[in-house]
Symmetry: D2
Subunit: 465 residues, 4 copies
């Protein structure tokens, strides 16, 4: 997988450099405008943008987990060293530019490149004191960003160990971005095969909802079937089983048959099936088989899945048996696809931002009401005034619960969903509410995994797995 | 040159990620040690490093010019978001890891990889309250850094437009690092050709001095000849000509024959020749011909060069005529190489740090004395106590003057050289005094070059040149 | 009033210096403990306190409105200049030391001084990593603080322009502290007169509630009567009248008879009367007469007040007619006092903190429920663990509404009361929940009042009024 | 001395409040100008000042030693909480307002008040981007500052334990300000007695030089005699004796006769005498007697003092014997005064700033040359452009050496004096070069003196002495 790593690394690098170039451009422009008269700017052929430093929304990114960069003060050191302001870093995959890469569309490279360039121009990084948005076009950096990113438009063609083709392209995280691979890769795949399977990160509440309401809207493509993966262990966790901690031995409830716990947890799966059905797409449940699973447990999942509206529920053991292990799943999917779907979006775009948020909150998350922080209210108001109200919604949310709260397992309902902050990714084309304590920059643990990585006496890399 | 750009970009990316991973590791360790008891650390198999946050010397890097990041406060935001401290960013090419890449040595890939790994382990990032150095090995991140950098060990083989082979490998800036391409590329070239030309950035006071005293010491290779490039225009600038500003038309002194000005400026060239001769290596002066140069001007340079100790001085016009234009230079170099050299270092390693600094200051820069800031004195003292006194010196200095002051043209002498700060690059293997106002992070101008870069209607990149 | 100003200034100065001495002591101790070994500390006769910088709750104070000091980073500049951390300033009257001054009790100066000293020792300024509280006693600064404050224990005896005695002593703001003058002054006055009138800032929801539940609990004194002051204008505002802005002419609804608006606003007065009655103390409403008031308006207020449970409601025009203008009010108060009261506190101290908060929220503020931020939940938990759960509650809240929201006029009900942060003033003896957006540091306006202040040609001060 | 403390405290408080009011006014104006249009400002009757935040020279002050406040970032927290910038605190006695108080002059209270008001108006707190100075008058806060300070103009009349009158008035520190008591107190004393003794802090290099060149220039008063106090111990320290540390027992060289050490140290006294003589004023040396002094030691000091140009040198033991112990000193002073003086200033005001600095450096400090930091050069340039070049010089310097370096004892010469920073106190009327590492904010030690201060069981203050 070396080539893949290198290529993906190259894409992340290009995006990181481009993202930070924008950040440098914003601070530089703000700095120079603070020192120069209108006349001096005009001599240089520049108009005063009038950036309001309190309204700069673009942060910087880095592709390591660096807690210390979450909140920083930049521009210290005196008059030659920029102007002080508060800002911070996000993890690079949370960059709007990564989200853009996955959503660029076009019938060929030239049109995709043009679409990339246009999206870059629309990216909003902040606003003036009067709330007028400032874009990459205004900053004069949209062209350079598109140039830095142009090589990233090429999907990477890989193969599985059995030789089937697979594309790997774009990696926006599903909790803080839209979590889907690229439209370009999907489109290329559709030219090459009869059936295309595309992944959307985490559950039906996260990647799938964003796949339908954001990615499908951009491409105009309609899905024929949803494959929903379930495991006995995850469902037991949702039923109230003890927390699974890496490195510790599993609790007996996970390794022995436990139908009551499983039954309680299936509420979670049922909620996901109901969500998918709401879009009019048939659902096939794929039970990913583990050695300790029992037949009774699989039977229970299948029975409940069909009861909840799935068209099929099959056991799959491709991890042990490769493609052959997934044959029954494939057959079920083909059958489901032939059945036909009546796909529709969850919400129309012309609703107000809050109405769209509340539709997702109630229809997908089971929340009773949505509560907005003072900042969130102000931001939504500004975005609608700026004309961004037509954009779809891309929730930033934990994947450990259908709600915003990792502790609410199963199929939570009746709770209040808190919107802490709202960001606008105008170039990517969505509005991102941040729910609860969701972070956009992870932190390193006390003993990070990189401490195991090294080069052995033969020059081989060790400790990666 | 696309491939080159991509490859070099890949190296810079690997180095940037590795550098920032180290920074994240330092802050994370400091953060966690501040929260955990000795017992908790031991349970994790960790010993308390006791990092003194005031003595962390490792900064972060970014590969865009970002003035606002020169001085920052990190770790703000509360108890989950790290611990506050002052720090800052350097430009990525100033990373010690880039300097390491250029100095890695080995007879094959395996030994080079081992040397890389060893150097990574020796990198010092700060110290305890008692001044005990803390290395990447101590942090447990040396292996991961070497793994991230392992692909960077492969030199890139390019060709000129006439088809001659050329290696491009490593890019430490010559003003703030050692400014030389890699030993590995040189060594590979020596297997492939009769003569190897390797570049060292800026003048004999900068790249050449570091080539001799740092790079040659590591590789054990001995140079046979110095090619010193001169232009009429640069020498006139050193003679007192007006400042040359990009975009404005040249002053007449540069476009018309002006022997007095040229004669005054040749003092600079003479000083560089004297410096090279001090190492026992024959010097060939290559006058890079411009259309407005006159024969009298070239004659004057040649006469003075020979007078100052050069073995030859020839006009070269390869810019206009390609390889043919450099034929006479090549012949002069071959002749000089056959003459033999008696290469010796400027200073022995076992002198105290200050003695080595002062040798370079007086012998190469013409300074009368060296003045150390309070911080510099403390740092030198700590480095010697920590056992780093044996390392060679790598001055960080402007390239616009032989001195530290860009305004001192020609061959300055009798001045005081200020040492503002001293850093130790133990993995790369040198001590870096920062002279005067030298910056390790450039800033963007009011109208940066990226504003010209874009993609045209045909999808072609414009504005790069 | 010059003397008063000077004396009050002296008290504020002593408190400001003492408060900031504590702040300096905390940062200094944290700084030195970070540099010294346990052995070095012991040589100095000191034990390691182990202050957790993230849990320091003591801020600094200044007695001017200084917005720029609300949030600061201190300790920058390098290893000699302290350790960096986030902190900020409050306005000096919000200092816990000012609240202490008003709550010190004793039968004579000696016992009051001792009580002051004891309270200083109990002041909690932060905690260790394990949540163990750190007090002024632990820091060794309690004695010095008491010494700096000892002169402040003397109440200032003033006289009105008609010659009646009046004490002026202590000034904790009623929105962010308890808003009552000192127990010592009240006690001294009780030795000197038959009836003592003491003021408690703002409405029955603020100063009065704190007077009853905090100040009376400390002194053991029981009030005989509540005098509740009302104006037609304020009640009309609560009925929905337009905002009154200093410097602009009054809207006609305030200068002409408007019984519907007044009737709507009286809901606010009725709520305050109900609150006072809940404590078992008879209420006399004093209508502060303005020239534009009409008889119908005063009649309506009186009728409604009696209806809501006041024992009397009288018009008073002491502003125009001095003591004579307040004669009828005085007679009504004497009569009410003779009637007897059955004073009881709103809540017992042995309830959990949240129960006490929720009692005030529902019984006094009319809130339907209380919502705690994540920080508030954590703080309450820590305070109860530290043994501070027994303290009474001192809400920090706007005075512009009975609720936390200045926009909710009249007698709001059914709303959710947000608790943003909770502080513990263990020396003063109360827990302070901060409601909503309540600030503890005001800011200067664009054209502050001080711009009018100057000295005229005769050396007289102008612009103060 | 209680009354004195209270009064002095009152003055410091008034100055502290006034100083910080100015700071708040600057940040508030900068903040509001950043949010408002020119039109909005004009509606308020304000013109845009255009403060350059990088050129704000006014810091904040506090009257406790608080290391953590030396360097801070203010204005953090978001758009309502000011604008971020780097700043810091000085100790309150270093406020320019304290220096002003000591230099206010006038024949009566009215004229002194007017002078105070005028000086306040001239105080410069920063400048615009174009370097135009911004004063308290521009900010509209000069009147308010004068009003806050008006009570401070009254000198405090005290008496010694023998009943002699003494004024205590103003306390600018002698290392970082001018170190003299007030002109108003001196002038009042001259009306009341035949001889007035006024103190100027530290040695002839510090308080005396500033007394002559700054204070005497303002008042026009001419001194008749210099009383120079010497002790055997201090002179031995200057001769190379070991450092005297509070709390440790004295080294034997200080408690036993040691003429060689004393002789070496007298070089320091001789230098001070020479400095005083340079002003044309007769010098009387007062040897402050200690029990361990020997007759030989006093004889040596007397002999050398006369040799160096003193008109008399007498032993004085007022510490043991009160006024009687100083009788011989008084007689010598009367005699010296009758002899007449020919007082002249050290430098004329119309020299450039650097010439004045260099005159003091060479004539008083014995320095061979002066070295200016980049910042100092820029500041001097700006001050001269702004028209402040005519002001006298007030060096900020250690009192532990005649030089800038506490380690250079005796009468140092031939060294380079470093000027790190230059401040302009235009209201007080001087330019302040900061020499070397001089700090304007002290720090608390590990075990500060306040830890001894407390109130004992009888209510008495303990631990102050």
């Amino acid at each position: 997988m070396d080539e893949f790593n290198l290529h993906l690394t190259g894409d992340i690098h290009a995006i990181t450099v481009a993202h930070n170039l924008v950040a440098a451009a914003i601070d530089a422009r703000w700095y120079h405008e603070g020192r120069l008269t209108d006349e001096s700017l005009q001599e240089l052929g520049l108009e005063r943008l009038g950036i309001d430093s309190n309204r700069i929304t673009w942060r910087r990114v880095v592709d390591v987990n660096d807690r210390a960069l979450r909140n920083i003060v930049v521009g210290l050191g005196g008059s030659a060293d920029g102007r002080p302001r508060e800002s911070g870093y996000d993890i690079a995959v949370a960059s709007e530019l990564m989200a853009i890469l996955a959503l660029v569309d076009g019938s060929d490279y030239a049109s995709a490149l043009k679409n990339l360039r246009d999206r870059c121009g629309r990216v909003v990084v902040g606003s003036t004191k009067d709330g007028v948005p400032i874009t990459l076009e205004d900053l004069g950096v949209a062209g350079a960003v598109a140039v830095l990113m142009r090589e990233t438009l090429h999907p990477t063609l890989m193969q599985t160990i059995e030789g089937q083709a697979a594309f790997v392209h774009a990696g926006p995280f599903a909790n803080i971005a839209h979590g889907n691979s690229s439209i370009l890769a999907d489109r290329m795949a559709l030219h090459l095969g009869d059936y295309v399977v595309t992944e959307s990160g985490f559950g039906a509440d996260m990647g799938m909802e964003k796949f339908f309401d954001i990615k499908c809207r951009v491409s105009g493509l309609k899905p024929d079937c949803v494959v929903m993966v379930a495991t006995v262990r995850a469902l037991k966790t949702h039923g109230g089983g003890p927390k699974v901690v890496a490195g510790r031995s599993l609790d007996a409830v996970y390794t022995e048959e436990n139908l009551p716990l499983l039954r309680a947890g299936i509420a979670n799966l049922e909620a996901h099936i109901a969500t998918a059905n709401r879009y009019g797409v048939p659902v096939v449940v794929a039970i990913n088989k583990f050695p300790t699973d029992t037949q009774h447990e699989h039977d229970l999942i299948k029975e409940k899945s069909i009861g909840a509206g799935a068209v099929a529920a099959v056991t799959t053991d491709h991890h042990a048996n490769g493609g052959e292990g997934a044959r029954r799943l494939a057959e079920a999917v083909v059958e489901a696809c032939e059945q036909g779907s009546e796909f529709s979006y969850l919400y129309p775009l012309d609703q107000p931002i809050k109405a769209k948020i509340e539709t997702i909150a109630s229809q997908v998350y089971g929340a009773a009401e949505v509560e907005y922080s003072t900042a969130a209210n102000r931001q939504i108001d500004e975005f609608e005034k700026a004309g961004f109200g037509y954009l779809p919604i891309c929730m930033a949310k934990t994947h450990l619960s259908i709600s915003h709260d990792p502790g609410l397992k199963g199929a939570p309902s009746g709770y209040t969903l808190p919107v802490r902050e709202v960001r606008a990714s105008v170039g990517a084309g969505f509005i991102s509410p941040l729910l609860g304590e969701m972070r956009t920059m992870p932190g390193l643990g006390t003993k990070p995994a990189f401490m195991q990585v090294d080069i052995d006496a033969d020059g081989e890399v060790i400790g990666l797995f």
